[in-house]
């Protein structure tokens, strides 16, 4: 059967889709929890204040709406490596102006050896792989999403 086509989430989801403690799939101080912060930018390098990000791995789902600075954050249990693949988090990005959502992945900067042999990263132009790896910034893991431009984040087609 033909899948139902996608349409943009639009600008007016903020009263409907957030839910209590949505950004924290686990308590921030739970054992093994990892917090990731970032910003979403458009092709004019402006923050995107009306995006919605979802992160999940395993049984965990975190949902976070960006704020006026395009900033988001979430806390999940840090994923573990699986056979032959580096640990990563699936991220989906919804926003006004995105007729279909985008899928990307967050890899971890302290998993360099595993990242080098990860099969999904292996399909990405080596010059662009850095856009998928979070960076340590004063003790905080940061991952920015750039919808366009020189540093455009790598997005995956499923």
């Amino acid at each position: 059967m033909n899948p139902t086509p996608s349409q943009t989430v639009g600008p007016f989801f903020g009263f409907a889709l957030p839910f209590e403690d949505d950004a924290n799939a686990v308590a921030p101080h739970a054992a093994g929890a990892v917090r990731i912060e970032g910003q979403v930018f458009d092709g004019g390098d402006e923050p995107v204040p009306d995006a919605l990000l979802e992160v999940w791995h395993g049984e965990q789902l975190a949902r976070c709406r960006t704020d006026a600075e395009g900033a988001f954050h979430f806390t999940v249990t840090r994923p573990e490596a699986s056979a032959g693949a580096a640990p990563f988090l699936n991220v989906t990005v919804f926003a006004r102006g995105l007729l279909r959502h985008l899928c990307t992945r967050i890899y971890f900067p302290d998993e360099r050896a595993a990242n080098e042999t990860d099969p999904a990263l292996g399909r990405v132009d080596p010059e662009r792989r850095y856009t998928l790896v979070a960076r340590q910034d004063a003790g905080i893991l940061r991952f920015d999403v750039r919808l366009q431009g020189e540093d455009e984040t790598v997005f995956f087609a499923l």
Binding site: M1, P3, P5, Q7, G97
Partner: protein, 230 residues
Amino acid sequence: MSDSELPSEPPYLHPDYRSTVLRAPRRELVRLPAEWFHHSSGPAYGRIPVRPEDADLTRQHRGEPLGERIIVSGRVLDSDGRPLRHTLVEVWQANAAGRYLDPVDDHPAPLDPNFTGAGRCLTDDEGRYRFVTVKPGAYPWRNHANAWRPAHIHFSLFGTTLASRLVTQMYFPGDPLMPYDPILNSIPDPRGRELLVARFDLDTTEPEWALGYRWDIVLRGRRATPLEAG
């Protein structure tokens, strides 16, 4: 599943919808093998609260909202036509005057103190969902001169895998604004656009009470295993 098998999906860049110009990615998406996702479990949305009253948007306040009371119902299916049981459906919409409760909406139409415009439900054993609400109004937006969105209800569904995640909009049959809407018309194939238009349904209509609309939703992907029920 490749894009060539999905002629009804909108492109990312559709300049008639102005917001896509600075937000659509310009690089080609990196394709990962579909089988990597057929076996990955989908998002667990168990933390998203769903109460029985969330499916009736007309009973979330002390009084009844103004507007034309409607029932929107249908089935959620996978690509093989099999029902997705107990899967989460989220909806949100403008009120009958065409105004969202969202603080970002500055359209000078009245808010309705008896209408929030947000609902959730889980599909039943046959994959059916059902919402009671009021028909949303059309509203202007600033995409181009004299731009108006046709009446629509936003839907968000998870399904069973990463690839089945869907956010979309349902439209109403016969709406004269549809041919002018760059968001709906971003879908190149008219058959694809038709998939987003509900049909009026006398069987869903409840006598002396509410008009009924039917709209089935097909999510991409197949069930990973026969036991997986979403």
